[in-house]
């Protein structure tokens, strides 16, 4: 029993509730940022505990493991929680400069905190129905955030976003129902144990596919048709936090279910994951290269990276899983950074269409070079983060004999680099065409660069400090590769 496990969920929930009652704009911002900072501290403490004594488990309400709901903080989940909170703080800094007073008054800060609570809860829960509940907490907050402000485009896109997610929630409930009918438990550790006993036959494979569909839809794995529209509708800060966290939660759920629960028949499930990942990479890359405006480049970069992470899961060796952990941490930071840069650029240039921009390097040299550095971080050039993760995933892919997919992944890295460099060249270097819209206020744009610099610094720290991180990542990947560690920690046998 360790009550610290629940704190990363409780702190944002409490803050969100308190923020409903707060009226002053200054206090809204201060309390919001402070709570996320506290959350980072608490999670760091949690990580030190996990490092010292292994996986931390909390049985809610004192109901013991297979019967009650458990929260399980293993190293993987804790690392994700801390990265998510760090990114969330920085996006919040960006948000309070751009989001506008009207949105802030309409409970933006509360929904933001509830979103973080849902994300942290999804990472920490050890019960598959509870995962559904935290997914919904996260999604409902995201519905509110995506529509807040109610411009025409937001209304149109949020309706579709909600419908897609409602549908996938229905399928989530259906899959949980089938799973409970077939196995008779919902605790993830107990599920793993029982499925190992009864063998993963045809029925369980079908249930696994249903979960693949549900989580794939949320993660944007192959079923990403909803993603470009919804992620380009809300203001930059909101779509940054969506891109950084929401798809990652789907990815996390996929990784958790396919390393802990449905890992008995990798020839079927993981092979399928591999090809879906390959298709996602290809389609995402094509979208990014073909995009004519900044938002298109941004959203299709998200899609491609989802494919890349799942490719590591499909390779399913311990080395590849280490790569997945590294890359997931990197991707949370870098996607937020990319979207924030995009947001700053949209304000600076006044338009997202690449054709009608240019020459912004004169006004905003820092923004331009930040974008240049980020492009290399996305491609995975050392010393920035992303290099080690990519290396390990590709190595794992080669070991698993997936030569075609490794080739696709390598080629896509190059093309994604090209897609962002194209934005850099056309937006910053090309002579500005006739009739280009006037840019935003210089002072406003300059004030937006601080969060971006912070995120880039974190990305560099993740890359340079990979050695120091290695111990934690090894533990995280080890738990994924050896489900017995997780099971014995939860069920205490």
């Amino acid at each position: 029993m360790n009550n610290v496990v629940v704190l990363p969920i409780l702190i944002p929930v409490l803050t969100g509730i308190v923020l409903i009652l707060v009226r002053s704009l200054t206090w809204l911002r201060i309390i919001g940022v402070a709570s996320l900072l506290i959350n980072i501290g608490v999670t760091a403490y949690l990580i030190s505990q996990i490092d010292a004594t292994g996986i931390q488990v909390l049985e809610l309400g004192g109901w013991s493991a297979p019967f009650g709901i458990v929260l399980v903080a293993d190293m993987f989940a804790a690392l994700l929680v801390v990265t998510a909170n760090v990114t969330a703080v920085i996006c919040l800094l960006f948000a309070s400069r751009t989001i506008g007073e009207k949105r802030e008054r309409f409970y933006f800060h509360s929904f933001y905190q509830f979103l973080i609570a849902g994300v942290c809860g999804s990472f920490l829960t050890g019960d598959i129905f509870n995962l559904f509940v935290f997914f919904e907490v996260m999604l409902i907050s995201s519905y509110a955030l995506i529509v807040l402000g109610a411009t025409k485009q937001q209304l149109r896109e949020s309706i579709k976003y909600m419908l897609v997610n409602m549908l996938s929630s229905v399928f989530f409930v259906v899959s949980v129902g089938f799973l409970y009918g077939a196995v008779g438990t919902l605790n993830m550790a107990d599920l793993s144990l029982r499925i190992a006993e009864m063998g993963q036959g045809g029925l369980l494979n079908i249930i696994a596919l249903m979960f693949l569909f549900v989580f794939g839809l949320k993660a944007g794995l192959f079923l990403f048709f909803w993603l470009p529209g919804s992620y380009s509708a809300p203001p930059a800060a909101v779509s940054a936090i969506f891109a950084a966290l929401l798809t990652k939660v789907g990815i996390y759920a996929l990784i958790r279910t396919f390393t802990l629960i449905f890992y008995q028949d990798p020839d079927f499930t993981h092979e399928l994951l591999g090809w879906m990942a390959g298709a996602t990479i290809v389609l995402g890359t094509i979208g990014a290269v073909g995009a004519k405006n900044v938002k298109g480049i941004l959203v299709y970069n998200v899609v491609a990276s989802v494919g890349f992470i799942i490719f590591g899961l499909a390779a399913f060796t311990e080395g590849a899983l280490q790569g997945v952990v590294y890359y997931l941490l990197h991707d949370i930071v870098i996607k937020a950074l990319l979207f924030l840069l995009g947001g700053a650029f949209l304000i600076a240039a006044g338009t997202g269409r690449l054709r009608s921009t240019g020459e912004w390097i004169r006004t905003y040299p820092l923004l331009g070079w930040l974008l240049f550095a980020t492009a290399f971080a996305v491609a995975g050039v050392p010393p920035l983060s992303g290099f080690l993760g990519k290396l390990l995933i590709l190595e794992g892919g080669l070991r698993a004999g997936e030569y075609v997919l490794v080739g696709i992944a390598l080629l896509s890295s190059l093309l994604l680099l090209y897609s962002i460099i194209r934005w850099f060249m056309e937006g910053f270097w090309k002579p500005r065409p006739e009739g280009a819209p006037a840019g935003g206020e210089t002072r406003v744009v300059r004030s937006l660069l601080m969060p971006c610099v912070l995120l880039l610094a974190i990305s560099a720290a993740l890359g340079l400090g990979a050695e120091g991180l290695a111990g934690f990542v090894d533990q995280a990947a080890h738990t994924m590769a050896e489900p017995s560690v997780y099971i014995s920690a939860v069920l205490g046998e």
């Binding site: 509730i17 009652l21 809610l60």
Partner: protein, 142 residues
């Protein structure tokens, strides 16, 4: 509303109190029997909706100047705080305790449970959120 709703109004005055009493009964019956904060809250909300239907929004705002969003927040706060109360006793989050006490008015061996506090939070939240939803839909007349 212009229609002649004397019957509705007269009936509402009586029925509302019956519903409210029943909702209180449901609230306290909870935990070991069917009932509890959730269903109690829904019943209370239905009584309030009946009031809002038979008397117009403006006069109801004067009679019940309640900010339902704040009510929701307070309810949530109570529920979460009750869960966190277990931290003080070194028990896992959301642990609940109960005991039997002799109280003057309620007779001997009255069961008191901390779950009632949690239910109070749920009750306030449910009433607050249901009314917020219904008023949000209903307030728009144009």
């Amino acid at each position: 509303m212009n229609m002649n709703d004397v019957i509705l109004r007269t009936a509402t005055k009586v029925i509302t109190f019956i519903i409210l009493t029943f909702s209180l009964y449901m609230f306290f019956a909870g935990h070991n029997n069917p009932g509890g904060g959730f269903i109690g809250g829904l019943i209370t909300a239905s009584a309030l909706v009946l009031l809002y239907l038979s008397f117009d929004l403006e006069s109801m705002k004067k009679v019940l100047p309640v900010n339902y969003i704040a009510m929701t927040a307070i309810g949530l706060l109570i529920a979460v705080a009750t869960g966190m109360g277990s931290f003080l006793f070194g028990a896992p989050f959301l642990s609940h305790a109960f005991g039997y006490y002799d109280l003057p008015l309620f007779g001997e061996k009255t069961e008191l449970a901390t779950a009632v506090l949690f239910d109070l939070g749920v009750y306030l939240t449910v009433v607050g959120i249901t009314m917020t939803i219904i008023l949000a839909i209903g307030e728009d007349q144009t």
